[in-house]
Each structure stands twice: as C-alpha cells, then as structure tokens.
C-alpha cells in the first residue's frame, strides 16, 4: 500500500514537472514559431507565386526558378558575394588566430589589457557609423588612407569609385571590424588547451615549433572549424557594410546577395522572386555547411 502511494505521488510530481517545462518554454517557443518556423514554411509557398503585396499572390509555377538562370545581375551579385566570403573568412580566421597566439604570450598586464581591449574595440562600434568614418578615410581626395599610401611612396587609389576596388574596400572594412571577434574566439580555444599536454611534450624534449605543430595546431582545429562555419554563414549575409560604404556601386560592382534580395523584395516588391533568390542562398548555406561537416572529419582533431 505504502509503495503504491509513493509511486503515484512520484507520477504526479513528474507530470507537474513536464507541465512546468512546457510553460517555461512557451513564451520563447511561440515567438520562434511565429517569426522563424512559419516564415520558413511561408517562403516555401512564396517561391511558386508572384506577389507584390497589393494584389493577392498569383501562382506562376516554375517561372521564378526559370528567371534565376536568365538573371545576369544575380550572377554578378553572387560572384561578388562569393569573392567577399572567401576573402573575409580567410583573412578574419588568419588574423584572428595570429592575434590570439600573440596576445596569449605571457606579457605585462597593462600591455595585455591594452592589446585585448584595443583590438576588440571595432567589434563593439556600430557597423553603420564606422562605415561612414571609413568612407571619409577612403576618400580619393584628401582621404587618410591615400595619404598613408602616398607617404609610403604609392599612388593614390580611388577605393570607392573604382569598380575593381569597391568590393576590396568592403572586404577590408569587414576584416577591420571582425578580426578582433575572431581573436576572442581563438583565444578561448587556446586557453582551453590543457597545460599538461604542453608539459608532457616538453618533458619529451619538444621544441617551440614542435609544441605548436603537434599540440597547439591539432587542438585548435575544433575552434577553427566552429569559427569557419559561423563566419561563412555570416559573410554570405553582409549587408550594412556595403550599403553604407559603397551603396553596392559603382554599378553592381560591390552589391551583395543580401542587398539584391532587399532590392527585389522591398524596393521592387517582387516578393515571390526575392523569396526564390533567398531560398537559393539558404540551400547554398546548408550544402556548404554539410560539406564542411564531412570535410571536417578529415582535419578536425577531437580528443
């Protein structure tokens, strides 16, 4: 009898706990459902339609997909975006890792604080406001960057007015703004490597290069993998930087895919076609991420 009472009470408690669980996640789950899950489903409907938000959506079959292949501007903005993604991902990771290695060396406390805070400073500034600053700095005439180039003996460069360089300017700006963030991630990774592994290797007579090559490098690969995956997803969506710095110009020379989607959806109100483009981006990101996970098995070292 006593046993029975106990177990039914336990059952009651578990039920209460489940109920509490659902109640606790409810506020967050409802918002995510409305503003994430439903939109994803909705965009799967929109891609079959033509919708300008004034008249009801009209079913157009594969028309939006067919249009993808004849849209010359789409090819241009995708080319720009891929160039940007490759550039910023490689540079941010390389600089972030090198900065983390450098800052992680034993050094004077004041210097260490100065480096860590200073190098992180651009990360906390507003993307839009510093882009305006950089527009002044990059000005062809009396811009600070060209003055620096001049004193180093180089010619002045029309950074924002040239269709060859505008995209490079956007890339540099993103690296300036983001590499401090990558540094913090790599620093956390470096500090997570157990000290006893270094000691063991040192006892075995490993020199500095060997410690780096056989302890630091393999054990930082999980961090590197994570940073690469996150940064590639982020870089495919660069918007603010380019809007404020170059406005996508001259012509389409620095227009990114996110800007193009914005233009199609919210300037021209071609919601159906814009959804189709954004779905290609989504599919591309999913594919790239999966490929990275497969390739990751080859180069990421797990203890």
């Amino acid at each position: 009898m006593a046993v029975l009472t106990k177990s039914s009470k336990k059952f009651h408690l578990q039920e209460r706990e489940s109920l509490a669980g659902y109640m606790f996640i409810a506020p967050s789950a409802v918002f995510l459902l409305v503003f994430l899950a439903i939109p994803i489903v909705a965009s799967l409907v929109l891609i079959w339609t033509e919708y300008d938000m004034l008249t009801p959506p009209r079913f157009v079959g594969f028309a939006n997909f067919a249009r993808l292949f004849t849209d010359a501007r789409l090819a241009t903005v995708y080319r720009n975006t891929v160039f940007l993604v490759i550039g910023v991902t490689l540079l941010n990771n390389l600089l972030g890792f090198l900065l983390a290695l450098a800052v992680n060396r034993p050094m004077n406390k004041v210097l260490s604080y100065l480096f860590r805070t200073g190098l992180f400073l651009p990360v906390i500034t507003t993307t839009v406001s510093m882009a305006v600053t950089w527009r002044f700095l990059l000005a062809s005439d009396r811009g600070v960057i060209n003055w620096v180039l001049g004193t180093l003996g180089f010619d002045a460069v029309p950074w924002l007015a040239s269709s060859q360089l505008s995209l490079v300017a956007v890339m540099f700006y993103d690296v300036w703004k983001t590499c401090g963030h990558a540094m913090v991630l790599y620093l956390a990774g470096l500090q997570g490597i157990p000290e006893h592994l270094y000691e063991a290797a040192r006892v075995d007579g490993a020199g500095r290069w060997h410690l780096f090559r056989h302890v630091t490098l393999p054990l930082i690969t999980p961090t590197a993998f994570y940073v690469f995956v996150m940064y590639i997803i982020g870089a495919f969506q660069i918007f603010d930087n380019a809007v404020v710095l170059t406005g996508g110009g001259p012509g389409d020379s620095s227009r990114t895919i996110a800007m193009y989607i914005y233009e199609k959806a919210f300037r021209l109100y071609e919601m159906g076609y814009a959804s189709t483009i954004s779905l290609t981006l989504f599919a591309l990101l999913v594919t790239l991420t999966l490929i990275q996970f497969v390739l990751g098995r080859k180069w990421v070292f797990y203890e």
Partner: protein, 299 residues
C-alpha cells in the same frame, strides 16, 4: 637544441652555453616580431576610432588638413551642439527611439530566454531534447530567408511603421536560450533537489534560486542583445517609415547624404552614437568576452 630533434624523443641535453645564447637570441627575435605585429594591428584597429574623435572636434575649415591627427588638435565642441540641436534630424528623438527599442528587446530576451533555458537545462519533460535540437537548427537559418515572410506577417499585424515591428520579433532568440542554458547547466544538481524537498514551486525555484546565480550569463546576454539592437540597421530600414520613429543608425546613414553638415559634425554624431555602447562595454567587458567564448555570439 638542434633542428634535428624529433618530438616525443628524449635526447641528451646539448652543450649548454652555446644553446642558451641561441635560445635567448631566438626568443628576442620572435618577441620583436610578435610585438611588432601586435602594435601594427593595434594601430590599424584603433586609429580610425581615434581619428573620428579628434576630427569631430576640429573646426570645419581644418577638417581635411593632412597629416591626420589621432589625438584632438582642437576642441570645437560646438560641432556636437550643432548635431544635438539640428532641425533636419531630431537627434534626441532618434536617440530615445534607439534606447527604447533596445531596452524593450533586451528585457524581453532576458525573460523569455532565461525561462526556456531553465526548462531545457533543469526540467525533464517529453520531447525536451527534440525541441532543443530544433532551437539549435533555427540558429542556422539566415535572416535574409525569413526576412520577407516576417515582413508580410508584420504588415498583416498592422505593425509597419511602429516600434513594435522591431520589438516583437526580437523578444526571444535561440542563441540567447542556448547561452543561458550553458550557465544553468554549470550549477550543481543538488540545488534543484534541495529546493524541491523544501516544497518550492518551479516558478519560485527559477526566480529566487536559479536566476540570481546566473548573473554573469544574464549580463553577457543583456549586453549582446542591447548592442545588436543598438546597431540594427536592417530592421528599422525595413519596418519604419516616418521620420520621428527612426533610430540612430538610420540617422547616421542619412546625414552625410543631406549635404548640409560638415565632416566634423557627421563624425560628432558617430561619436555620440558609439559612446553609450562603449560605456556599457567597459563595465561589462568580462561578461562580453566570456559570452563570446561560450557561444560565438556576434555583437
């Protein structure tokens, strides 16, 4: 220490004197390279911000003087006064709008994310792990995919051109839930058992026992969400229409195009917009760094 030393093989120590010198010289050279690299990078990262400040204090006629200066050479505070009191863009109004939206979004996320995180970390209920996996999956979905349907939803709710359009979709996030869950998981299991033996309800256990213990997590998330909302340019661009509802990033993007304001005045506006977040950052730096390290959150 010759280069031929193989790793993980114990070798006899080579002749001491020569190699000690060699190590000293080597470490001096690497030290010089490392510090050279750090100082150059520090200059590149900090100079544009310093230049913005020093130039914002120059009189307009001296704005374009070269060489540039990174420490103030003039103290023309009237530039700031011009920006604060300008008629075209009501600075104070825009500032208050930014603040209002950022505070609302931050409080909302702290509440919804901490509740969900508590449930995912500390309560057992059917489907918990599946739902949490779905949360993680939504973190991979790019904003440009959901942007168009979200716009249509907001429009159908009649929220276009209201601050609610920016606040409501931002009231929760999967990333924030994930971050706070990490903090809840780091607390000892006994806490829960002790509280339940005392007969406390789940709401009380959450609010008076667990929540106060994850202060650092809440600080980190709060700062991130505030920064993200303060920086947000895409949202206001999409949802706001009337002049008096705009936020600071919109003001900054518009101002140079008006052609009425000088470069130092534009830069003064930039400084005014980044000062609040700098202050927040200086107070909460530790939490920010820890939060980034835990989740890879981007401000």
């Amino acid at each position: 220490m010759e280069n031929t030393v193989k790793p993980y093989v114990i070798k006899e120590k080579p002749a001491p004197k020569l190699s000690v010198w060699r190590i000293k010289i080597e470490s001096l050279i690497t030290g010089a390279i490392v510090f050279g690299f750090l100082f150059i990078m520090l200059a590149i990262e900090v100079m544009p911000v310093l230049w913005t400040f020093s130039t914002s204090l120059r009189p307009a006629i001296r704005a374009y003087e070269l060489p540039p200066s990174f420490l103030p050479t003039a103290w023309e505070w009237s530039n700031y006064w011009t920006v604060i009191t300008m008629q075209d863009i009501p600075f104070v109004g825009f500032f208050v709008n930014s603040l209002r939206i950022s505070i609302a979004v931050t409080l909302g996320q702290l509440l919804t994310c901490s509740m969900a995180a508590f449930a995912f970390a500390r309560l057992r209920f059917p489907g918990r792990d599946t739902i949490f996996f779905l949360y993680l999956a939504t973190m991979m979905v790019p904003g440009s995919v959901t942007g168009i349907p979200v716009f249509i939803i907001i429009r159908n709710l009649g929220l276009i051109d209201s601050h609610a359009a920016l606040i409501i979709p931002g009231l929760t996030s999967a990333l924030g839930t994930f971050l706070l869950r990490q903090f809840f998981l780091s607390l000892p299991n006994e806490l829960m058992d002790a509280a339940r033996i005392d007969g406390a309800g789940f709401l009380r256990i959450f609010a008076s026992i667990f929540l106060p213990l994850i202060g650092p997590g809440l600080s980190a998330l709060g700062i991130f969400v505030f920064l993200g909302s303060w920086h947000n340019y895409y949202g206001p661009l999409l949802f706001l229409r009337s002049w008096d509802k705009f936020t600071l990033p919109i003001a900054i993007a518009i101002l140079p195009g008006l052609g009425k304001y000088t470069m130092p005045e534009t830069l003064a506006l930039i400084i005014l917009s980044i000062v609040p977040i700098m202050l927040i950052f200086l107070f909460g730096q530790r939490y920010v760094i820890k939060g980034i390290a835990l989740t890879g959150l981007k401000g």
